[in-house]
């Protein structure tokens, strides 16, 4: 007797993700409920059905740290949007979306309100349809030095014109003015740019594409600092033309190592400080690599290809760690790693959003989104704590503490990353590594304590109020 029911997915931890599709819709998927048992559901849909507004690139800026820099005012957002996200009254989170018709929209990632839109400047008379946006990045840290209410957009088109523009939000949900800082320069060298990435410190910009070797740009001076060199001809004397389809930095705070996927189904690791040719190069299946994403640990990468295969690799050795099997049949366009949970999301042409457990390679959930998807992003500060929703004013400060605790958590991964880097290094550093390990453990202990203490504090506060 054949099995008539589909395998049940175990559900996933509470999370909130955004998907972008080719009809220009933005969909919000939320999983909430018991820890680890939540069923992700489509909760909101923003935008109208217009194929000319298909989303090409998206970037989300929802730093945990920033809202607390200005300190004082904090509250829960209105009930219509997710009450589980705690934001300052002056919402500073932004979502930038590049559309097919050449506009770049900046939205409020909590309720999808359009904050402002700008057309991508194509002053040389090129139609936006002919020169679509290949990369869009909201620079978060750049504007910390500037006024707190401004933001910076970095765009890069397929034909190779990059621009940095910064804008200022004059009033919440009101009009936006350009602060005047804008700079456009050409990055393409006759090819098509297909992938771009900004590193964690937001000083370096990585580019690559069809007939464009991977190159790294310094964003402060807008100068090219490094270019890759194509691998030599093979034993038959055949040279594979350059065609990069995806790229990512290995870790957030190291701009020197990055991974690139090519159209000739190769994954390559480059190290700027070592050499111009790839350090490691390995092949994955038979179709073009379409997306590459890094893990928090700094050595695991996730690779998705054109026929829907998704796998994780250890980039230090180039060995396959495991494949994610889940009847995925369409090209994987985008992979996102959840900042806290061991969960990745993949989406693509088969119009499913799939959530996977990284540790068990298990499919947690597959959500049918009706449209071929182009991008997926996770919210980094979605917490499923209904208790806090009930009495938001009581624990205003506590959120701060809680999130501060979370920030501690955030700070720990770099330590781990260092560890991983040192694994690659020589033995002398091994001692340092062990020291780091201890430090890491200590950190973990502190983190736990801080969480506990925050909870305790919360209870006390509630008591006082009652």
């Amino acid at each position: 007797m054949p099995r008539t029911t589909t395998l049940e997915c175990p559900g996933c931890p509470p999370l909130r993700a955004l998907t972008f599709d080719e009809l220009g819709l933005i969909k919000v998927i939320e999983a909430r409920g018991k820890q680890g048992r939540a069923e992700p559901k489509l909760v909101e849909r923003w935008g109208d059905l217009d194929s000319s507004k298909g989303v090409l690139a998206a970037s989300l800026d929802d730093r945990k740290s920033d809202p607390f820099l200005d300190g004082a005012e904090r509250c829960c957002l209105s009930s219509d949007c997710s009450p589980l996200i705690h934001v300052p009254s002056e919402v500073h989170w932004l979502l930038a979306v590049a559309r097919r018709n050449g506009t770049i929209e900046v939205l409020n990632p909590l309720n999808g309100d359009l904050r402002f839109s700008v057309t991508n400047s194509s002053n040389n008379g090129v139609q936006p349809e002919d020169d679509p946006v290949a990369g869009l990045h909201l620079l978060a840290r750049k504007n910390l030095e500037l006024a707190s209410r401004s933001f910076t957009l970095l765009t890069c088109t397929t034909k190779g014109s990059a621009s940095i523009r910064s804008f200022e939000l004059t009033k919440p949900a009101a009009d936006v003015t350009s602060t005047g800082y804008s700079r456009t320069w050409s990055v393409g060298a006759g090819g098509n740019i297909l992938c771009s990435k900004v590193d964690g410190s937001e000083n370096y910009f990585l580019l690559g594409g069809k007939h464009v070797e991977m190159n790294v740009w310094d964003l402060d001076s807008c100068a090219k600092i490094w270019t890759a060199k194509p691998p030599p001809k093979n034993t038959l004397g055949i040279f594979t033309p350059t065609w990069f389809t995806s790229a990512t930095f290995l870790s957030r705070d190291d701009h020197r190592k990055f991974v690139a996927g090519t159209n000739s189904h190769e994954v390559r690791l480059y190290d700027i400080s070592a050499q111009r040719r790839p350090v490691i190069s390995f092949e994955f299946r038979e179709t073009a690599i379409k997306s590459v994403a890094e893990d928090l640990n700094g050595y695991t990468i996730y690779v998705g290809n054109g026929s829907g295969d998704l796998a994780s690799f250890d980039i230090r050795t180039g060995k396959l760690l495991g494949c994610f099997l889940g009847k995925c049949s369409g090209s994987i366009r985008s992979i996102a790693r959840h900042p806290d949970y061991p969960v990745i999301a993949s989406c693509g042409l088969d119009s499913y959003l799939r959530l996977w457990n990284v540790k068990t390679w298990q499919l947690l959930s597959a959500v049918y989104m009706k449209q071929p998807l182009s991008n997926v992003l996770f919210y980094s500060n979605f917490a499923d704590e209904e208790a806090e929703v009930v009495n938001p004013p009581a624990n205003r400060l506590l959120h701060g503490e809680h999130i501060a605790a979370e920030r501690d958590e955030d700070e720990t991964p770099p330590v781990k990353r260092k560890k991983s880097k040192e694994k690659k290094g020589n033995k002398k550093e091994a001692k340092a590594k062990s020291g780091n390990n201890e430090a890491c453990e200590e950190d973990g202990g502190k983190k736990l304590k801080s969480k506990k203490s925050s909870k305790r504090l919360k209870r006390e506060d509630v008591d006082e109020l009652s």
Binding site: L23, S264, S329
Partner: protein
């Protein structure tokens, strides 16, 4: 012999063990558990006979009940619906719903909407693989007679990508490549132009016109397509792409069979229209649907068949249809369904 003894002992010991828990004794002996072939076949035959008798009895009782109901003027008992793999099919969330606005918006935006809205006339180029003979050319001849506005070009030694370029230049809307293996057409590649998807089908069970009994001959009418059961999202897309693009559809409503026939034979009055098969009959099974034109190396797939998907017989990626040609009008009726296959039967009506 020693072995036999051993077996007997074992069976005895098993029997002895079986006495203690009563349910084990109740378990009937299946014929497959008997090791002696003669005995097994005897038991099997007996069982089969029993089943047959029971079935006959049941049928008799059913008929009798129906007859009685008719005599008494009552409602006859409801007919039972047999379980098929189709009506016990796995729930598929991708099935298109008629009130889905996203679906219609997607339809408007896709590559074929200009042809389906009749803003553009479809123009089809048919070619073959490098070497073809025997049934291949005959099949193409029949396709040319059925598909309007189709032209055949010799393949020569051109690369497929070059042919795509050429067809793009000449404003073709789609390109069909019939692949032949061992003098038997075995695959169909349908490439949408200029940017449309590429569908790769496995072609099987091909029956040409001359081999069909009582076949008709196609007329110069524009064919009309009836697409049924292309309900999943993939099926919908394939349906829109392959069939509706090839032959621009005219009307799509049920009961048009009689309507069309009447329309054509207006002065004669009431005429019974019958279907007559005319075209090649074949089954298509989708292997892959690729985004963009033919590119096996760097291509991006919208759907690829993978063996890991075939874990259930009750999962259909899209459903079988039969296509028919009625006096130049095509019909597809839902008949026997099997997983993600498409059956084409092209019919022609009796000459009226």
């Amino acid at each position: 012999m020693g072995g036999d003894n051993n077996k007997r002992k074992r069976s005895e010991s098993e029997g002895g063990g079986g006495e203690e828990p009563p349910p084990e004794k109740k378990m009937e002996i299946l014929p497959s558990m008997i090791k002696n072939k003669e005995k097994r076949s005897a038991v099997h035959a007996k069982l089969k006979q029993q089943k047959k008798l029971e079935k006959r009895k049941k049928a008799k009782a059913r008929d009798a009940a129906e007859k009685r109901a008719l005599e008494l003027g009552e409602e006859p008992p409801a007919k039972k619906i047999p379980k098929t793999i189709e009506n016990t099919r796995e729930v598929d969330e991708t099935i298109c719903k008629p009130d889905d606005e996203e679906l219609f918006a997607g339809n408007d935006a896709d590559e074929f909407s200009s042809i389906l809205k009749r803003e553009m006339n479809p123009k089809i180029l048919i070619t073959t693989c490098r070497f073809h003979s025997s049934r291949g050319p005959e099949f193409i001849k029949e396709l040319l007679s059925v598909i309007p506005n189709a032209t055949y070009y010799k393949r020569g030694t051109y690369d497929l990508k070059k042919i795509v370029e050429y067809a793009n230049k000449k404003d073709f809307t789609s390109l069909i490549v019939v692949h032949t293996n061992r003098r038997e057409p075995d695959a169909l590649l349908i490439i949408g132009l200029p940017s449309g998807p590429t569908a790769h089908f496995k072609l099987s069970k091909l029956v040409l016109r001359k081999d069909i009994k009582n076949h008709g001959n196609p007329t110069s009418h524009e064919p009309e397509l009836v697409l049924n059961n292309f309900t999943t999202r993939l099926g919908h897309r394939i349906g829109r792409y392959i069939f509706e693009e090839k032959e621009a559809k005219q009307i799509e409503s049920k009961g048009k069979k009689t309507k069309d026939a009447n329309g054509e034979s207006g002065p004669k009055g009431k005429v019974i229209a019958r279907l007559q098969e005319c075209g090649p009959r074949f089954t298509l099974k989708l292997i892959s649907l690729q985004h963009g034109t033919f590119d096996t190396k760097g291509g991006e797939y919208e759907w690829v068949h993978k063996p890991e998907m075939d874990t259930s017989r009750r999962r259909f990626f899209f459903v079988t249809v039969e296509e028919s040609l009625l006096h130049g009008k095509k019909y597809i009726s839902p008949d026997h369904c099997s997983s993600f296959k498409t059956n084409f039967v092209m019919f022609d009506s009796d000459d009226l």
